[in-house]
Every structure is written in C-alpha cells, then in structure tokens.
Amino acid sequence: MAALSLSASAGEALVLGLATGPVCLATCGPVVVPWMLVQPQGVRGHGRQLFLFLAARLAGYLVFACAVWLVGSAIPHALPQSWTGRSWLMGGIQLLLAAAMVVYAVGWPHRRCAAAKTADALVQIGETSVPKRSGALALGFLTGINLCPPFLVAGFRAAQLAHLSAALLFFLCFFAGTAIWFFPFLSLGFLKRTPEVIIVARMVAILLACWYGFSGISILIERTFHG
C-alpha cells in the first residue's frame, strides 16, 4: 500500500513537472540563454553545459525538498503567511543570481577563447571568459532554489509527505518532468558564434543582472518597510 502511494506521488510529481515545464522554461530561460550563447559553438559543448546546469538545478531541488519536508511538519497549512523568511530568501536569491550573471556570463578577463576572437571591425574592450563549469553549476543551483510558481506548488505537496525519502523522490520526479523542457536549449549550439553574438549575449547578461538585482532589492525593501 505504501509502495502504491509512493508511486502515485511520483507519478503526480512527474505530471506536475511536465505540465508546468513551460513556466520553468520561461523562468530559467533568461539565465540559460545568455549563458549558453557565450559558450563556444557546438552541440556537444552545450550538452555538457546543460548537463551541469541541470545537475546543479537538481541539487537545488533536493536541498529545497529536504528543507520543506523538515519545516513541513512544524508549520501549519498556510506556509507563506507563517514563514516570514520567504521574502528574505527570494530577495537574497535574486541578488545572488544577479551577481552570478555578472561574474560568470560577462566574466572578467581570462585567457582568450578561440570562438570569441574580436573582429577587426570591433574595438577590443575585454577578452572573453573561457567556458567554466562553476558558472553552469552556480547558475543551475541558484535557479534550482529560486521560488518560481511551479516550484512552490511542488514544495507544498512535498511538505505534506510522510517521509523525507518520499519528498526527495517527489522532487526528483518533478525535476525529470521539467528537465525535458530544457532540451530545446541545445539548439543554441547550432547558432554561429560571431563576435557580435557573444557581445550581445554578454549585454543580455548585464541587463538580466540589472533586472534580478532590481527585483531582489525591491523585495528586500518591501520586506523591510512593510513587514
């Protein structure tokens, strides 16, 4: 009977992940697209980066699953109202995402990347960063614990489960459902890497960092002044 219940909740998580995948895609897309575009051309390299990103995202999911399960038994049903730290967490994650976008997608000068040699037509401002594993891992983990709507739905459901293992399985299946939606990002590997594409991707990363930064600061200010 317990096994049946476990498989039912796993199925529910998978369906929830598949159904809310487009929302995950829209929420994580702003982070994934510029990150992928600054990578050298090629589906293989992109596949590696996407794998690292998703692995770190899964780690974020499982950490969150543990957290919601642990607090789940201690809190009443209305989690958002009772848990005052939610806004602080959201604001903090947004600010960390902003910092990570600047550091990893834009990067400080590193050794020259063959795919990003500046054309004669362009003025050299700074060298392009080489592909870094830590970038995909950091961005994946931060988007993994970012409290997007489908993620919160899954969190509520996981908090109601009886065992930690069930909560972890629930999030694992939820992750599998959403991860399928990320595979179209591999097609970015086919896009020709001209210097212009890489510069545009870096500009997008800066704009997104501003957006996440503004969003994070707004949440924190609202929390501070309005309680």
Binding site: P22, L25, A26, T27, G29, P30, V33, P34, D120, A121, L122, V123, I125, E196, I199, V200, A201, M203, V204, I206, L207, L208, W211, S218
Partner: protein
C-alpha cells in the same frame, strides 16, 4: 548638411516638371482614394485636414521625383508625423478619459490601444501558453479601434513590402528624434560614435533578447511596462505607488536622453539606432525584403560621406568595402543623397548592381510612399483635424 552637399553635386533639376508630375500621378490618385471616406462622411475639420494631407504627401513625392533626392523630403513627412502623432493621440486621450494615464479599469477590460512595439514580446507567451500578454482586445471595438489583430496585420503587410524601411516611413515615434537631430548644425560626439558604433548598434539586439525572455518569464510586456521612452508622450500606467513612479521616471529619462538630448548632440537617431528592440526585430525582415542600398565599388572613393550621413550607424568601413549596408539599414536614402560620386545606389535584389538604380528607387518609393500615405497620412490627418477643431476663429 549631407543633402545640401549632394544638392550641389547634382544638377538643379533631376527630372523635368512634366515627367515629375506624371510620375507623381499614381501617388496623388492613391492619396485621394485613401482619404475619400473623409470627404464622404466626416465634418468640415476632416475635409480640411484630408485636403491638406493629400497636398502635403503629393507635393513631397513630386519633389522627390523632381530633385532626385529622397532623404530631405522623406524627413519632412517623417518629422511632421513624429511631432503630430503625440499631439493627436494625447488630445484624443484627454477628450475621452480626461488624462494621459491608463486607469487600471481600462487595462482590466482590455481597452488599451495596441502598439506595434510590443509585437516581439508577444511571441513566446503566445507560442507556449496561447496567451496574448497585452491588456488590449484582439478585435477592434467601438472604444478601441487600435486592436491587436488590426495593428499586427497592418504592420506585417507593410513589413513585407518595406522591410526595415518601416522605421523610416511608417514608425510614428522615430520622427521625433529625427526632428531633434535635424536642429543643430554641428555634429558632436562624432569620435565616440565612430569608435564605439560597432558596439552601440548591437545594444538593440541585446534589449530585444532581454525583453523577449523577461516578458515570457514575467508574463507581462516588459518593454511597455519599463523601457518605452515614448510612454512619456503617449500614455502610461497611472502613477499610484513607488513602482509606477519608478516606471514613469525611467520613461521620462529615456525620452529626454535618447529622443531629445542625444539626437540633438550627435545628429543621429540614437533611440532607433542604439536602443529600440523593435528596430532590431524589424532588421530581420531586411533579409527577405526586395529592396536594399548597395555601393558601386568602381565609383566609390571611400570618402565615408555616406557613413557620416547615416542616421543610425548602419554603415561601417568594412560593409562599404563589401558594397553593402549593415542589417540595420532603414533605407532612409541619406547615404544615396550624400554620395557625390553616385556610388551609393538603390537596388532591387536579383538585378545587377548600379544598373538602372533610379528604377529600383522608383519601385521602392511607390510602395513606401503609398504605405506612408496610408498610415502616416491618417495620423497626420487626425492631428491636423484636431488642430483645425481648436482654431480660435472657428
């Protein structure tokens, strides 16, 4: 300055009066056809405005034919449309609502007039969630004739014919900065633009990607909500809290900076060239458009007059060496008019370069001016009718 120098280089009359009138006749007939309903139904204000606009558009086209210049005469129309559009639009808003700001009730009821600028932001949410993330109605209503379907239909039809020339013949915002860019005699910040032009012209692409991704993530038209400089002179969400105050601050800052100050300093269309994401989106249609500007390398002496005259930095030394413009060329004709050696020419794709370029120019101008009369003419007529209505001696 560019057009003045080209006027010196060319003979005073490019074409005879009779031939010019003959070539202008189709546009005159088209204009009459466009404004026929104004004469049949509306009041005297509408009759006067329609007559003035027909004369205005036909005269400008005649001058294009007569002088052989495009940019100077197109700019008069474009600046007039740019400055008169907010006038007519704001007057209509104030008459209807009593304010320029959009009340939340109008947004909820889907009564916000649709603007073509938001089109790229709609694509991902429409594809994935079958949702239009704009508070407007799909089909025209009595209170909101500027519906989403109508505006996208008009834009798409015009884009197929004009490509990115939409930005210099149909966009009712670009004329404002072109007007401010036309005022000063001296060009400032020229060295900065030349040095960093290669980066500056990539910014609209970055903003386009950002706006499309952020709109899909937030499920709201991010450009309209946060980044549109022209909200400052059209309509905007009512300022009721800190967020809307910040939005309004951004709109005003962008408008003053990109549409007034920088065009005045640089004599360039800085908002169009270095900011507008819709312009970047529109550039993609230059790939499939039939008309383009090319350079006859046998005549070109690399004087870079064309590059200096380009209002949106759509030319680089490399592109001129290749005999082409960059993807963001909006076919305004400034480079062709500036070229003293007649090396810059209008070109119909699939035909030999610099062979009968005037024929390519004529074909392009007939399409462009017909659409400019249809879209810009109606905007002009509406604004002129409002002015006539307010005349003190009436």
């Amino acid at each position: 300055m560019a057009s003045r120098s080209s006027a010196l280089a060319r003979p005073p009359a490019f074409r005879g009066i009779g031939r010019s009138i003959l070539l202008t006749l189709p546009i005159a007939l088209w204009s009459l056809l466009m404004f026929m309903p104004s004469f049949q139904h509306a009041g005297r204000d509408r009759h006067i405005s329609a007559l003035l606009v027909i004369l205005f558009m036909t005269t400008l086209f005649f001058l294009m034919m007569r002088t052989g210049e495009t940019y100077r005469w197109r700019r008069i129309f474009f600046v007039a449309m740019g400055f008169l559009f907010p006038f007519g639009f704001i007057a209509a808003l104030v008459a209807e609502r009593g304010t320029m700001s959009i009340p939340i009730s109008r947004m909820v009821s889907g009564d916000t007039p649709f603007c073509f600028m938001v089109t790229p932001s709609l694509l991902l949410p429409a594809a994935f969630a079958r949702t239009i993330i704009f508070p407007g109605s799909i089909l025209p209503t009595a209170s909101n004739p500027h519906s989403i379907a109508a505006m996208i239909g008009v834009w798409f039809a015009m884009t197929l014919i004009l490509g990115k020339a939409w930005c210099s013949y149909a966009c009712f915002f670009g004329g404002i900065e072109e007007g401010f860019a036309a005022f000063p005699k001296r060009r400032r910040l020229h060295r900065f633009i030349t040095r960093f032009g290669a980066y500056l012209r990539l910014i609209p692409w970055a903003i386009l990607v950002f706006v499309v991704l952020a709109s899909a993530a937030l499920f709201e038209p991010v450009y309209c909500m946060w980044l549109c400089p022209f909200k400052a002179v059209t309509e905007f969400p009512a300022v009721r809290n800190v967020t809307t105050a910040v939005q309004m601050g951004i709109f005003v800052a962008l408008f003053v900076g990109l549409v007034v100050v920088l065009p005045y300093l640089t004599k360039k269309r800085t908002q169009c060239g270095f900011f507008c994401p819709f312009g970047a989106f529109q550039s993609l249609f230059n790939k499939i458009n039939l008309f383009e500007i090319r350079f006859d390398r046998e005549k070109c002496v690399d004087c870079t007059l064309c590059q200096t005259s380009c209002p949106t930095v759509a030319l680089s030394k490399e592109s001129i060496r290749e005999g082409k413009t960059l993807l963001n060329c909006m076919k305004c004709g400034a480079c062709v008019d500036a070229c003293k050696k007649d090396a810059a020419v209008w070109h119909l794709k699939g035909t030999p370069v610099a062979v009968k370029p005037e024929r390519a120019r004529l074909l392009f101008l007939y399409g462009a001016w017909a659409l400019a009369t249809m879209m810009g003419g109606s905007i002009l007529a509406n604004s002129v009718a409002t002015m006539v209505h307010w005349l003190p001696w009436k």
